[in-house]
Amino acid sequence: MPKPHGGKLVNRILTGKERERALAEAEKLPKIKVNDKLVKDVENIANGIFSPLEGFLGQEDYLNVLNQKRLANGLPWAIPILLDVDRDSVNSLREGDDAVIVNGEDGISAIMHVEEIFGFDKKEMARQVFGTLDEGHPGVKKVYGMNEFLIGGKIDLVSRSKSPYHRYCLTPMETRILFREKGWRTIVGFQTRNVPHLGHEYVQKTALTFVDGVFINPVIGRKKNGDFKDEVILETYEALIQNYYLKERAVLAILQTEMRYAGPREAIFHAIVRKNFGCTHFIVGRDHAGVGSYYPPYAAQEIFEEFPDLGIVPLFFTSFFYCKRCGGVANEKTCPHDRQHRIEFSGTKMREMLSNGEKPPYELIRPEVADIIMRWENPFVEVE
């Protein structure tokens, strides 16, 4: 199993007397209000999912991530993890002081050790991270909507937020012990924000032939219109694993964070996170973490050439289709037949069929998975 990124699993979760002391002091501290999405990243930092980060990025690390896709110490890191605040909040904070991060729904989340307060160029961030300034890109839209200031500094988690998916929330400490107890030495991580079709299953099982286990790790968090709801993703994966996988070879657990839709940079970020969970390999398909046509189809694979020191092995897959002549899932390297025999794994087409109450064919989606999706009146995310 690889060491966590940076060599050590971060653990900034307060317990016992330390936690009691922090809670008592929190009453007197200035408050930084965050939404339920940012609170998840506070927890991801604290439980080591974002190792080696121990807090939100300071300016030096932030600029290095933007310009070099590395932290200031040279360690690969491609997505800036930031805490943005407005001017009113800044006026109540000072560098060197502590503040308390609060989430409206769940109360006190963490103590923030305010090391730096700095401004940033939103356009530059959008350009560097997403490769575009187009507000049609969901990630760019979010950047433009951020507050003007960033706070850098370490955090100490005091309380976890509630989650309806608590049963699927595993920390890196837990997954590493789990993989060890299962006797897995090589593990392939699979990132998804979708319900499974046969192409996904094929890719996972192809990778599984070379490793001991597959860690299926859907992203649960902010998505865009047209993505499947989190509950649908989990229910369909449970059905798939129950019916088509060996229980001792597959683990399903979630990653609670936002999708950034940053394509290549996010592929590196996703690989690092799965390395922290204990994965030795990571599947990268066509247009990983992409949206629309902002990124070339295989840019998210090519970027790995910049990181020979990443510490997790990427497994690259080109796009698959179902070939009726081959009688199974294939790609252009394995199938000699004409296109007329192919059924493409088109997400758009499958969504259309499902929206029209039409069950997609068994060549595309397992019937158990299709049945679950079709039981939902509306299985898709609708963002206002």
Binding site: K8, N11, G74, M173, I177
Partner: protein, 76 residues
Amino acid sequence: MSTLSGEKSAAVPIPIPKPLYNKIEERIEGTEFTSVTDYVTYVLEQVVSETEEEKEVYSEEDERKIKERLRSLGYL
């Protein structure tokens, strides 16, 4: 020179055969490694870390609780 943990330490020269040095120099062209020293240090750090036992950040009690949770959730 920095170690994996980012600490600065004194460097110690270690001779390697010239043909090997030249091969490495060719290999790192166009990569993120800026010198043969960088590349060799990285490779050796990987080798050394694989043989080191992973220093656990959790106690026996933590491990017991984690296994209990994993069992209750059906993972073990």
